[in-house]
Amino acid sequence: MTLAFVGGTHRTVPLDLRERLAFSAEQAAEALRRFRERFPGREVVILSTCNRVELYTAGEKNAVPPPTEQIVSFLAECRGIDAGLLAPLLSGESDKAVVRHLLSVASGLDSMVLGEPQIVAQVKQAWAIAQQSQTTGPLTGEMFQAALRTAKRVASETAIGRQRLSIPSMAVADFASGVFERFDDKRVLLIGAGKMARETLRYLRDAGARDVVVVNRTAERAGDLAATLGARAERFENLERELVAADVVVSTTGATHPVVSEELFMRAESHREGRPLVVLDLAVPRDFDPRIGKRPGVWLYSIDDLSAACDANRTSRQRELPGAMAIVDEETNRFMGNLHHRSTVPVIEQLRAGWVETGDAELDRLFRRLPHLDNTSQAEIRQAFDRYAAKLLHSPLASLRTESHSGSPHGLLDALKRLFDLKE
């Protein structure tokens, strides 16, 4: 059995070339069909995401895998790219390295953002497209099943995908949600509406926020933003009043000095009746006077605070990497062990069949010589012969199984073939 893959990722292929190389679902299906025509008998799956394009192929032992250069040319041809341009950027692996690579990819260990979970869905989708195109088989089937199983194990047994790495998601999930239990009864105030604020609002909406007010220096711009975001626009002059009503503030103005001074905030605070306030100050320079963060009941997070927490999470994910790789190695070895063991099946079947045939012939001769044996006695003798054969076969089969876990047991297989005169 042979396994191979050729592909490139964000590390090796520049973005503009990755964009040209990427396959849509329809393009992938068409490429799979063409690959099957060109290399009959090969199973094939194409994994195409915004960060990687990889072609996995597998076949029985006598189906020699196409060389890496041919697969690179095939990919280039499918996407209309000069093969000479792609060749130095794509790389290939074979056998165990293919399995280890796929298992790492599916677990998010090879992703741009370490441990990101979206890749599992993309691997599943790649598998589904190949299945619909009827280019899968038992080998790729087992390999992709192993990949999904490994991804599940890595996700549940390590914390590699747990900590958030994007500032908006962390601001909402780890900080705002640490203060508030629910957001459907909270007022969200956007001061300015930069890209980061919109992204943060998306997470707040996912968490249940409905009541959103946009305040901007330009009333017209505030109106446009409010219409886009499904929010209510307010004049900048009403900022103090809006601060009284707000529970979460997301601020991203381009102002060069604090938009909310301590004095302004204290005036608003006196009317807030002690309600807690979460302020996500995502502006540089800061929109909120940092002294406001020292007021009781105010949870003020600047972009630097959130970046530092993200960095800590990134480091934490890196710490989980050895544990995750250990799972990948364990699953790779298990897969390869099963694969090697499977290659011994024909020899085992031949060996068993030879013994059964010889045993049956001997028994027939014996029963002809002892015609007085009734059916019960004959059955007993047959069972004894079967047990004897099974016991004799047990040791060589156990040795084969053990040997399979450390690689293909060619030596043992050859020895068995020679000793018992087994044919290919």
């Binding site: 047994e157 390590t158 640490g178 203060v179 002690g274 807690p276 007021r295 009781p296």
Partner: protein, 306 residues
Amino acid sequence: MIEFVSRISIVCFVASYMVALVCEASRLVFRSGIRGAAMIGFASAGLFAHTLFLLWRAANESAVPLSSAFDWYLLAAWMLAAGYLWLTIANPRTPVGLFMLPVVLGLIGAAQLSSREPFPQTPATQVWGAIHGGFNLAASVAVAIGSIAGLMWLIQAGRLARKQAPLQGFRMPSLEKLAVTTSRTLSIAAWTATAGFLSGLVLNAVTRQAGLLETVPWTDPVVLRMGALVAWLVSAECVSRITCRRPSAASTAAWLSLVSFGVLTLSILWGLFGVTRHGVPPPKPLPLHSQHVPAAKAGLASGVSP
């Protein structure tokens, strides 16, 4: 079946709760796919054994829950253990057991140190005794839950103030939820402790009127400690209500709940190791024939001939 139930001892459910606590603590060290199930399994087994133990005592030893200090502590521990199980099933990612199970084990420890002797009862005092015990039980459980929520609030607020992401396996509920729990349990504790104290006064009056049992004097340590606890809880509730519209209201309530738990713990320790006439049966006049027996035995033991 009856033989099985009769063999259940405190060790059975203490061991189960301890294993559940170790599982909870292991959240901080490593991740596991089966830990949640193991935790719920051990806690359920412990609670099941705990329930059977209380039922067995009620059925066979005339020790209806609350009829002795021993049963009172065990029932309080049972309520908290049931609460722990419910919270763990509802919020599997919150390590609530790290806070609740030590209190459960502490109450079982207090039960072990307390008297198993049933409180003296007459038909006249039985109802008031149950009301008195029930209110005090509710107050103690409310104080324990409130203090746990208060402690969790302080930990969560500390994490948010330090601007740190949650630790692995140590994700606390939101401040909003914890603040509501703290202030509600503080109110419940104040009201039920007051009701418990007042029902104790009624119980004492009924006892005096019936003239069958000894009354508990005002200067008895139990009366003093319960009085102190009630005074503290009512004061804490008043402070909490006065400050409820201030930005520091939740923090104040959290600290008040923690101090309440300290006062409750001192009160329990005082009850365990102090001298009291609360719940003590009156000395029975010895029958004439039994007065002679010890003397005769003493004589035999000392080798004196009759």
